[in-house]
């Protein structure tokens, strides 16, 4: 546990001196801010016609949409760059287990996303205290934010796993991005075409677990299990890839 934290802390600090991490924060926060302003203006102009008050789900939906593009940037170098720089040899000969290294790397990226997510709390706070009376739907708020955390955790775990396979961080980026694009957008296309609805492919669809579950205010055990399974898979792939490096 202590080793995981030591690894995560160093890596988390590294994000704050990395220009790419600021670019990621910018790419997430700027569209969210604009989108929020648009929602607020649109709903306030319709308020007299009895339209429902705004809620937080469009913001959390957009956050996850942006994670598809930004999380590969955060994970691409996590392990591949250590391999390229030779520092992986340092970590693999230190008295830490391979899975502690992988979990530490994943945790650092998750903490960085959580930091950005914490900044977005300003949106529900504004809605709750200033615009919507008697306040926003708190159950929806909690389930949507839990959903974002799980989606981010799953993306980042898969990204760390892929980063452990590659020595070139750009190769890691493109493979990670391709996988996320498939899981979030593309997987629903063949699922719709297949006779019988393609249940297995539908289950793989990352966006439907979020949009129809957490972001609609429904916390289902099956959705939680789905994302936790992806996290476990990503971390397992990462640990295995490092073990394979040792044997090569």
């Amino acid at each position: 546990m202590r080793n995981i934290w030591t690894i995560a802390k160093r890596e988390y600090n590294h994000y704050f001196i990395s220009p790419l991490a600021y670019v990621v924060a910018f790419i997430i926060l700027l569209p969210l801010g604009i989108y929020f302003a648009v929602i607020v203006f649109a709903t306030s102009s319709q308020a007299f016609s009895g339209a429902p008050p705004p809620d937080i789900s469009p913001i959390t939906w957009l956050f996850c949409f942006l994670l598809v593009f930004t999380t590969p940037v955060l994970t691409m170098r996590l392990i591949s760059d250590e391999a390229r720089m030779g520092t992986l040899e340092l970590l693999l000969t230190a008295p830490i287990r391979d899975f502690e290294l992988v979990i530490g790397k994943w945790l650092s990226a998750l903490l960085f996303i959580l930091t950005i997510l914490a900044i977005t709390l300003i949106f529900p706070i504004i809605l709750h205290f200033m615009l919507v009376s008697p306040g926003i739907d708190q159950k929806l708020f909690l389930s949507a934010y839990l959903g974002v955390i799980l989606v981010a955790g799953a993306f980042l775990a898969l990204g760390v796993g892929i980063s452990a396979i590659f020595t070139n961080q750009f190769a890691a980026f493109f493979v990670t991005f391709g996988l996320f694009f498939f899981l979030w957008f593309l997987v629903s296309l063949p699922a719709n075409l297949l006779p019988g609805g393609g249940d297995a492919l539908n289950y793989l669809n990352m966006s439907s677990h979020f949009n129809e579950g957490f972001n609609a205010g429904n916390i289902n055990l099956s959705d939680i299990v789905y994302y936790i399974s992806l996290i476990a898979l990503g971390l397992f792939v990462g640990t295995t890839a490092i073990e394979v490096r040792r044997w090569r």
Binding site: R2, T6, H14, G86, T87, E89, L90, A94, P95, R248
Partner: protein
Amino acid sequence: MIQVTGLTKDYGDRRALHSISFDANQGEIVGFLGPNGAGKTTTMRILTGYMPPTDGTAIVAGYDVVEESLEVRKRVGYLPETVPLYTEMTALDYLKFMADLRHIPDSEERAYETLEMVDLQDRANGYIGNFSKGMRQRVGLAQALIHRPEVIILDEPTIGLDPAQVVEIRNVIREIGKDRTVLLSTHILSEAQQICDRVLIINKGQIVAEDTPENLQSRLVGSQRVVLRVRGDSDELPAKIQKLKGVRDVEAKPDGSVEFEFSAGQDVRPQVAKAVVQAGFDLLEMRPVGLSLEEIFLELTRDNAVEKKSS
């Protein structure tokens, strides 16, 4: 402290280590001498728990490198050939990170003490990215010493340094080697001679010789070869010096020079010089031809100038 038995490593079809065996004791600096690609780094990576061997066993600080890898890694300090540094960190932060990974209490204080050991305390808060090669090497060495390990493994610790830095690093190694086991690799013969108590010569994944530097030196340089150059026509020179006692293996080179050999401890150079002058030649040059590392390897693998390590 280090006991290696029948260590073998295959990379795919290529065998990098052929069942090597050796040991190293406490307070001993053992040098691993060999050309690039001889298997030095492979051996060191196995001993530090970076990768497992294909066959054979290695016991380091009392623990098996495969079965008890974490215990070994706790007790070994390792400086890889490419010094593993996070260039965006300060020297102090980097060492503090390494100390934290090794669960050292008061990691900041330990980091500072270790920087003093390698004489970098003045640059503790400097970014490693701005350091010279020699300073980086010293930070790498500090990292290997941060937990005061029983066994220290250094892969080419002086490569790429300027002569003054080489002397500095060698002094540090000699100092730390007094009460610990140090295994260091190098492909510089003189370096091994200067700092090591014992030298293992490794070539093509096999240990071809093992002895103290002095013994190796005298065995390897059992005979000395000298090149001789005179003004003008030297056709008759080989025949003249051939007759002298102690002179062997006379050879006329196409460039007009003549080479010969004599046994160490029986220096015939004064007699040769006298004979050359008396025969009416103008002696221009007489100098020893040093045995290069490659020649030593050829020597070692061709005949048994040095007894082969059999165990």
